[in-house]
Symmetry: C2
Subunit: 406 residues, 2 copies
Amino acid sequence: MLGKLRVIEGAAFVAAPSCGLYLAQFGAEVIRFDQIGGGPDYHRWPLAPGGASFYWEGLNKGKKSIAIDLTTSAGRELAVAVVCAAGEAAGLFVTNYPPHGFLSYQALRPVRKDIICVRVMGWPDGSPALDYTVNAAAGLPLMTGPVDHDAPVNHVLPAWDLLCGSYAAFALLAAERDRRETGAGREIRVPLSDLAAATLSNLGCVAEVMSRGVDRGRLGNDLYGTFGRDFMTASGCRVMVCAITPRQWSALVTALDLGEAVAALESRLGVAFARDESARFQHRRELFALLEPVFASRSIDSLAAALDAAGVTWSRYQSVHTAVTTDARLFTRNPLFERVSQPSGFDYPSAGPPATLVGTARRPLAPAPRLGQHTDEILASVLGLSAAAIGRLHDAGVVSAPEAFA
Amino acid sequence: MLGKLRVIEGAAFVAAPSCGLYLAQFGAEVIRFDQIGGGPDYHRWPLAPGGASFYWEGLNKGKKSIAIDLTTSAGRELAVAVVCAAGEAAGLFVTNYPPHGFLSYQALRPVRKDIICVRVMGWPDGSPALDYTVNAAAGLPLMTGPVDHDAPVNHVLPAWDLLCGSYAAFALLAAERDRRETGAGREIRVPLSDLAAATLSNLGCVAEVMSRGVDRGRLGNDLYGTFGRDFMTASGCRVMVCAITPRQWSALVTALDLGEAVAALESRLGVAFARDESARFQHRRELFALLEPVFASRSIDSLAAALDAAGVTWSRYQSVHTAVTTDARLFTRNPLFERVSQPSGFDYPSAGPPATLVGTARRPLAPAPRLGQHTDEILASVLGLSAAAIGRLHDAGVVSAPEAFA
């Protein structure tokens, strides 16, 4: 869908590179520039046995790579030239470089008046933050984990980084749409901290603490305000079960054959659980007491059949390894995945876009580039440099040819 | 930036409504239709003292609302007519309705050939999933929480829903860009389960477990593959501290005045922590042992000054209430927030877009609509109905005028 776009990515870690990844997966030409030898994320764990970064190649699938010595002024000028290169659907830059350096909007705009720059940041004032520090400041680790635990529990998924990456891709397309109508470029800044603050507003949590004057407190694995929790089955397999709509609740009651017991409880409490989500939350302990023995007395296979037949919203808890190696819907038979040989030398299933364009065949999956793999191609096609000029840049050490990974 | 777009949202819960919210915040006209009396998310917690949903109004800020009786065929036809209404930059539909019902692509396309439908789903086969069941299946709860905890730990942030919402906004703009070039609409499906699977691929976790043959295991609050953890200060305040780049590491060593001790450890181990992120992870216990007494012996105020002066990436852990009521950068002086009177009757700071369009003033913040607040306006402006025709729809109970919240 985005076959005409050319996006330049000057970035590291999760947020901005995932933005570039999503754009590349929809067909945009995404050119990532890196310091010769790799940027700060080039060796990030998890690593392949040979030392290459699975993380780096996961986030850079299908992009082009140019390796530049950004410590030299010639290299910095080259990076600016690539970012600002001509083209109606070019001049699109995604970065986490600081707002006042050589890749600032002020530095780029004189080179390309209509440049669009989407800048991922920590705090809006330029001070450093990462997903995990923003999360600590936003309050979620004090709400996460066992009820009796007395310390914060960090999330392991860099949720703010991921949200930032997809939001940045959205913001870039919004700005590009506007540019086609008005001709004007712009800088858009997306600080992780503002994403977290806005999200707490969007989910009603800001209003909640202001209205109540106190925090929500830890709920363990219970869902807030509705029905959901983990249950242990007879087979020692644990499952997550939710019922947030009337239909989901009725399905659950049917699947567990708890109609009479639930009706008796409803009658005793004077509530109607199916149509009252709040009641399911407020009386969850009574409900848990009804459900726990059913789960505890039945095997996962028998439960799975009953839950699926009734259309219950549930899942086993399983490890990443189990999921990746045995879960047909998520991984082993998921058409999202295609086995690709990656620069790490390891050959494994990698994911294409998480969106399915119905009626359109999936494009073949491209591996991550080797660092600098497209250096010469980009210098020729994007900047129009001659072979001789490219040779001089190599001789001066300003750019680098493809390097082996690691 | 998106002032010409008209997007119809037929959706509940977090993912699709946050997609609509982001579009509205960039200027699109976003019309949300709901069942008269409210959809399944209309009473979702957190609630205002009067019973209105802070959650619903948080996710629907600045949208227009039309209330329709979707249980009647006349109401369903009306919803389809609104979704498919004419307009070059209209015919954009975001939904979590099932793929085979009255709002299926097959049902919409005959009414508007170039309709763009972005459909948020649980599993791609149409079976139900929610953020928390997808998360259980993807393996993250078994990696989250204290090292010695023997049960899964759910996240409290609906990270997959949020990622889905912003990704859906991106996908919608990509499809709309394509439509302007080719004239063709399409359906794009974004299942939560595929987002989770693709993310595990993007972050290198799929390759990791396939290469190693085992799971990563729980790390408590330690960051994987780099340096980061929580530390307790003398004042009883806990902080999250990260050092994932050479600069961040050097800043931390400087701030804590640990240069000599770290150099001695480096010499003993034969590593260079500043340039080797892996070493910082592999020898984290020795490093933690150096850092812990420094944090434990100093007050948060003295530490904060030293950490900030050196440019360390860190944050206090704080509760949502503390953050919302005292954190100037996140909330109390954040220009993202504007005090708005909402339909709940409560007047509180709400967030605008988490993106800053540099050089452009923020648009005034609009509250969430009352349910059905724009019913008549939408029937007139989008469908061109006469006052008499609108009156007949009211008389027949097919639509509803503004309702009080709750």
